[in-house]
């Protein structure tokens, strides 16, 4: 009887770790980073001459920081619609790799459900999800929706706040807001590395990725740098693992 109770308790704990609410909670650490960059995206959009309604619609539908900065910058520079869309396409191609890396954890879901999950995928939610997936075979759908929707709401709110308040914030750097994003990436990288037991190969991969991203960004573009670093550094990791 005692054992039965323990068993049920354990199941309850496992279930609560996979709930929608837990997904929302696991999103909280990324909120500051999102807020600052979303706020900045709103400010930049306003400066570029976009209306608050346009900025809101953009954050709702495009939902990508890098894309929204490019959007605002190219609108301000009077670029053509085709050039803007094509540039945004290339900048966000890295999501192919993130989506591919998450795919083994969502085999249990239908295509429609995978579309819903994928359409709200970002660098940050990916980082949280892949950490959550460590030592697991699959990620719960409810948990992922909790994470995604919390991040999405926060992003939209931050964009709108930026669009409204942008004109009064003259120096966001003073509050260290601009460093929230790199700090969040550092945190996600470290958490990822400590959760897996192959620190030596991981460090080789990380250092290679940094070297490649610097080299390729200098001769090409920032987004090409990220994609090249992801493809080549991962291959290096695979090779080192085999050769050891």
């Amino acid at each position: 009887m005692m054992q039965d109770n323990d068993h049920i308790k354990r199941q309850l704990v496992e279930a609560s770790e996979e709930s929608f609410l837990q997904g929302v909670k696991d999103c909280i650490p990324t909120l500051l980073g999102y807020l600052s960059i979303g706020f900045a995206a709103g400010v930049v959009g306003k400066t570029a001459g976009l209306s608050i309604a346009e900025i809101t619609l953009m954050s709702l539908l495009v939902y990508a920081g890098s894309a929204q900065f490019i959007f605002a910058g190219m609108i301000a520079a009077n670029s053509s619609a085709a050039a803007i869309i094509l540039t945004i396409f290339f900048v966000n191609l890295r999501h192919l790799l993130l989506s591919a890396a998450l795919s083994p954890y969502f085999r249990h879901l239908t295509s429609l459900k995978n579309i819903l999950i994928g359409s709200l995928l970002t660098d940050e939610t990916f980082g949280v999800a892949i950490n959550h997936a460590a030592n697991k075979k699959s990620i719960s759908e409810k948990w992922m929706h909790g994470l995604n929707i919390a991040a999405y709401m926060n992003w939209i709110a931050a964009n709108i706040a930026g669009a409204f308040l942008g004109q009064w914030i003259t120096n966001p750097q003073k509050f260290g807001l601009d460093f929230a994003l790199p700090a969040m990436f550092i945190g996600l990288l470290v958490l990822l590395m400590v959760s897996r037991a192959k620190i030596a190969v991981d460090i080789i991969v990380a250092v290679s990725a940094v070297v490649i991203v610097i080299g390729v960004t200098m001769v090409s573009s920032g987004s090409a740098g990220i994609i090249a670093a992801a493809i080549i550094a991962s291959a290096i990791g695979m090779a080192v693992e085999k050769w050891k």
Partner: protein, 108 residues
């Protein structure tokens, strides 16, 4: 509160090209049996992408290598890494990073 047609058109175009790379691999690859080498390669993608994002934030500025001397971001990254390793808390890391950069900018 208005939305211009030209802007609406670009927003819709941009949303289509951002959603496709997010969705396609999840839908297709979760249906396929990925070969073993593919899984081992995918295993390193998260580390590589996150490290590349960190590298870009710390070492690059407008597509150029930022000067290594008086790179306050790089300096602030050291305690940020340390806090991440010691506390393993994402929120703690973000807050530590922001406080460090505020202090450094105040000093320099």
């Amino acid at each position: 509160m208005e939305i211009r047609w030209s802007i609406l058109f670009i927003i819709i175009g941009a949303s289509i090209v951002t959603v496709i790379p997010r969705v396609l691999p999840l839908v297709i690859l979760s249906r396929l049996q990925i070969p073993d080498w593919g899984l081992r390669w995918l295993n390193y993608v998260p580390i590589a992408v996150m490290a590349a994002l960190v590298g870009q934030e710390l070492f690059m500025q407008d597509g150029e290598l930022s000067p290594l001397h008086n790179n306050i971001e790089l300096l602030a990254a050291l305690p940020t890494f340390l806090v991440a390793i010691l506390t393993r808390s994402l929120l703690g890391t973000v807050v530590a990073g922001m406080i460090t950069i505020m202090v450094l900018r105040f000093i320099f």
